[in-house]
Subunit: 238 residues, 2 copies
Amino acid sequence: MPGSHHIVKSFDEELGKLQDAIARMGGLAEAQLAGFIQAITERDGEAAARVVAEDAKVDALDAQVNDMAVRLLALRNPVADDLRVVITALKMSGELERVADHAASSAKRVLVLNQMPPIGSVRAVARMGWLVVAMIKDVLDAYMNQDAEKALAVWGRDGEVDDLYSSVFRELLTYMLEDPRNITACTHLMFVAKNLERVGDHATNIAEMTHYLVTGQSLRKDRPKRDVTSQAVAEPRG
Amino acid sequence: MPGSHHIVKSFDEELGKLQDAIARMGGLAEAQLAGFIQAITERDGEAAARVVAEDAKVDALDAQVNDMAVRLLALRNPVADDLRVVITALKMSGELERVADHAASSAKRVLVLNQMPPIGSVRAVARMGWLVVAMIKDVLDAYMNQDAEKALAVWGRDGEVDDLYSSVFRELLTYMLEDPRNITACTHLMFVAKNLERVGDHATNIAEMTHYLVTGQSLRKDRPKRDVTSQAVAEPRG
């Protein structure tokens, strides 16, 4: 039946298109994060403004993935592996949309930070940034190559981000206590660091989804959470 | 055909069960927020610890909704309105899971705040809390009653939350600048306020989903965002 063969082939094509759209979103989210890191490191207001403006592109891609996924569900009735591909794409696009959101809202704060004297902790924040960009990049590679092992490796790396976040948080608190003139800048940097910590969480979620997509097995629940900043207590010196 | 009639009836039952699970999740998320507000207002460590512990229940419900939705998609091939019910449930459970997450992570910070002298801004933060609890409650009512008008009304209320958040943020910044002994407590309160502001965003997302579910029309994009704290600049006095 050439007709049915044609339908099957075009279904695979549609699934492929869905995955391509996810890859494009992922690439864009990565670029947005990299743009933010450049902006904060080099106090580059134009780069920051670009990241803020480009966020709309990620939102548009997210809406597109949603429409594609719903159309596939409605017209193709996918089951088993194919259903998993569609559901995963739907969820992953939500995660990537939030990753890009965090990049854009961090970039907005760069515009404010540029109005104040530089703070040393920017370097540690940028280090957090590179760490989470690498996680997003690797987890997208894992997704595109259906590599469950690689997804698992990314999943295990979130602890590093949490550790760095905790240390940045304490450092910022100390700067604020030392000199009230640092308070506003440090506050903004704290929210930036928190955004990056959340990007690490999204990378972990994507790793879980990829692992589920490839193996059909859930990873959830056992991941140790090492961010302890919500318990941080610091007192002014002297 | 009594057989096919039976299948149709049980499909409706399954859709009903899915919506009941969402209602249960919503009720739990609301209760978690209310528990957090009690905890922060009355400096009640036990209430805070309860909220932290109960978060696992919401996560379990989220996983349950996911499984139900995927099973429905695989076995029932829903189309049109029914497909929209399933997709909406899938997304809404993700939103509610994050609402509960924000309640739990705010409750964690109450445990730290209780180790420090009280800060006046707690009242304003609690006010934000009641505002977002009411939004979550109303948007869930709108969802359960398929009331697009009510969903639209909730969607329009997020600006109030953003305004209150901006004013709380500035107040906290001022306290920090006035007395470094307030810095740690104010920092935790800032993150709590940010969590509540995010809950308002999730209520808005749920309102968009409900509106789409009932009318098939997207609301997206035009909502004015009034949170301007990422641009806040404050200087120490004197």
